[in-house]
């Protein structure tokens, strides 16, 4: 029993953090939201250089063959820096769901893919910049063409309808011979959970910095208990969401996979949402402006709370597992 990241894993997180901290990731996200995707695509290539895209791909297919916990470590940093783009799709869902070595190898090398997986993922993220676009129909991966565009509450999430083309391109056979994308879906939920954790940590860190320097009534507002207790509650909520995410990464190939992944998503969605609401409240009006970067995470959290399964859906899966109604 050893429930703590290894030095290698914390080093991997630090390397991504260092790259993103020096990349003006907020400006990249803002550009992305107005369809200026150039800076985002450049950052995508830099992250691919660190191996983020190849984590879950088998070595035989040109990937790193890393563990889900390594992916969680990486995706927390993507959330922390609000990195735009179809990361969950390209680096997590598709490498696991696709059968084709060629397609998976291209993604591991830094290619861009996206997917629509109804009902929980009704739109394909950033389909206009993706080389590979798919839709999941009855557990089967199908190629797709890009349709109408929709705006997300998070402007950096560019949503597209897609239309299935007829060719079947993948899906993993189960013991019963039916194709399924269940494991890929659960890993995508886990990756989204890790992004939410990173968003929550960033919101808390920025809020703490702000209340330490903002003065009202002659002293830092962070010295008032009304502010302190709000932020302490965020720290507590995030501290207890993190082990659920890490634990779910360890049980991804056990019968408890769906239960543990859903429990993690439920807890971290609540914690990150609390971080967003609290962060906005302690910032006051400045936090409500588009100009101030805090809004990047406030809107992203709201979108991710419902992405890859709403809290109600995931609570339902936990309950079904606990009562034996799988």
């Amino acid at each position: 029993m050893r429930f703590e990241l290894t030095d290698e894993q914390t080093g991997f997180a630090a390397a991504i953090d260092k790259l993103l901290s020096s990349s003006d990731a907020s400006a990249v996200a803002r550009a992305w939201s107005v369809d200026d995707t150039g800076p985002g695509l450049a950052l995508w290539k830099q992250l691919a250089g660190l191996g983020v895209n190849a984590l879950l791909t088998e070595e035989a297919q040109g990937g790193a063959g890393a563990e889900p916990i390594d992916m969680v470590v990486g995706f927390e940093q993507l959330g922390r820096h609000a990195v735009p783009g179809p990361w969950v799709e390209s680096a997590v869902f598709l490498p696991v769901a696709l059968g084709s070595d060629e397609a998976v190898g291209a993604l591991a090398a830094g290619g861009i893919g996206t997917v629509c997986a109804p009902p929980h993922v009704p739109y394909a993220l950033d389909a206009d910049v993706a080389e590979q676009v798919y839709v999941v129909v009855d557990g089967v991966m199908r190629g797709a063409t890009t349709g109408a565009r929709h705006r997300s509450v998070d402007p950096t999430r560019r949503l597209f309808e897609v239309v299935s083309t007829s060719s079947t391109t993948g899906g993993q056979p189960t013991t019963g011979g039916q194709p399924t994308t269940d494991r890929a879906f659960d890993l995508a939920v886990l990756a989204t959970s890790a992004q939410l954790l990173g968003c929550g940590e960033r919101l808390l860190a920025d809020s703490v910095s702000y209340v330490k320097q903002r003065k009202q009534f002659g002293r830092e507002i962070g010295s008032y208990q009304a502010i302190k207790h709000h932020l302490a509650d965020v720290r507590i909520a995030l501290d207890f969401a993190r082990p659920l995410i890490q634990g779910a990464a360890l049980t991804i190939d056990s019968p408890d996979r769906a239960r543990d992944v859903s429990a993690a998503k439920v807890a971290v969605a609540e914690a990150a949402y609390l971080a967003a609401r609290t962060g906005l409240q302690v910032h006051g009006a400045i936090g409500y402006t588009a100009e101030f970067d805090l809004s990047l995470w406030i809107t992203k959290v709201r979108a991710l709370v419902a992405a890859w399964g709403t809290p109600a859906y995931h609570r339902g899966r936990v309950l079904a597992a606990l009562t034996g109604e799988r």
Partner: protein
């Protein structure tokens, strides 16, 4: 990173599970805060001791097994899963013992620990005073030097002392240097509750039972041999207790995991009548699971030589609120019958005290904000106004 137990740990788990299955009383014992129940709980402690399960992590010479921290958590999970009785010796074995191991002399360890482990001597804490609750450093009870007899005379009043009604001994802080202020000049004393000059007045809790008491001290003599740590160093000595109480030792995850599992069982029986409670059931289970995994992280860090520190405050707020919401959900599921006395109503009333004892959750949030998040303390001028 892994959650796998070793062969030896799995063997220990099986052994503990089997012993508990064969030995845990079929019927719940009467409340430990009644004379009969107190005695019954002491008898249970004696049985645990005979099987060397009362203090598994202590050294063998003090009735322990020298078990690792991991094995201790495993034992606790099994203990609560088996529905075993609450620990009447809790304040001694979990709060005082770590201090005696850290600050006590060898002679004190040999004298206090064996009877504490066996439940022969039950210990009560004596921290709060009528004018010193959350602001513990403002205590006024005094210790004056008695050089002739080689010891101290205790005077004053302690209150909210859990278990003190029936307990044999007490431990707490007294002001030994009247010229010193707040955290300075305090000394940590151990004393028998039947000492000359001590009066214990039971206080009925909201469930009607005398779960705590007031303790009055009138020239109570305590020899130097019963001072824990150096005179005047009591605050530092006591704070290691506070860390223990808030953190790992007072509330092991097994308690909440077992309660959450029982809640799921209740849902299976009653859920059809109260479908609106489903998300409360899920949230209680998810939080208990979070607490369990969080604890494994803490255990890993402590095993690596890390310290609990202010993380104990993060812990305390979380489990105390989880305990209440879990029981509230159970009562919701019981519907109109929820007011009928049951293990759920007992557990609910017990849980209500959680956010208050061991440092209120407001104090814990201050600690999280100041020591973990690094937010500024209240300015001194405001603190002085509050004191007046």
């Amino acid at each position: 990173m892994n959650l796998d137990f070793s062969e030896a740990e799995l063997a220990f788990q099986t052994q503990a599970r089997n012993w508990l299955k064969a030995n845990v009383p079929a019927e719940p014992l009467p409340s430990m805060d009644t004379a009969v129940g107190f005695r019954a709980h002491q008898d249970w402690e004696a049985r645990l001791t005979d099987a060397r399960y009362s203090v598994v992590s202590w050294p063998e010479e003090y009735h322990g097994r020298g078990a690792s921290l991991i094995e201790w958590v495993i034992f606790e999970e099994e203990y609560y899963r088996a529905g075993a009785p609450g620990r009447v010796s809790q304040n001694g074995i979990f709060l005082l013992a770590p201090i005696i191991f850290e600050h006590g002399t060898r002679e004190q360890q040999d004298r206090y620990l064996p009877t504490m482990a066996s439940g022969e001597k039950i210990w009560a804490q004596a921290w709060s005073e009528p004018e010193a609750g959350s602001d513990l450093a403002s205590i006024r009870s005094t210790a004056t030097r008695d050089d002739e007899r080689g010891g101290w005379l205790l005077n004053g009043q302690k209150t909210w002392s859990s278990r003190a009604t029936f307990a044999h001994c007490g431990f707490g802080l007294f002001r030994s240097d009247p010229s010193a202020e707040r955290h300075n000049g305090l000394t940590y004393f151990l004393f028998p509750l039947d000492s000359a000059g001590i009066t214990v007045r039971p206080i009925a809790q909201l469930d009607g039972e005398a779960g705590f008491a007031e303790i009055f001290f009138e020239d109570v003599f305590v020899p130097d041999a019963d001072v824990l740590g150096a005179p005047g160093d009591g605050w530092r000595v006591a704070m290691s207790t506070a860390g223990n109480e808030r953190g790992l030792s007072l509330r092991s995850p097994g308690r909440f995991c077992a309660a959450a599992d029982r809640l799921v069982e209740l849902w299976k029986e009653r859920g059809a009548d109260h479908p609106e409670s489903w998300d409360g059931v899920v949230d209680a289970w998810v939080k208990a699971q979070a607490y369990r995994l969080y604890t494994w992280g803490t255990v890993t860090r402590l095993a690596d030589g890390g310290e609990m520190g202010a993380a104990g405050s993060v812990n305390k707020v979380f489990w105390s609120e989880l305990d209440i919401s879990l029981h509230e959900t159970a009562l919701d599921l019981l519907g109109p019958e929820s007011e009928v006395e049951s293990t759920w109503t007992d557990g609910y009333l017990f849980s209500l005290a959680g956010p208050i004892y061991a440092g209120t959750n407001e104090i814990q949030r201050n600690i999280v904000a100041e020591r973990i998040l690094g937010l500024p303390r209240e300015p001194k001028v405001v603190q002085k106004m509050v004191q007046r």
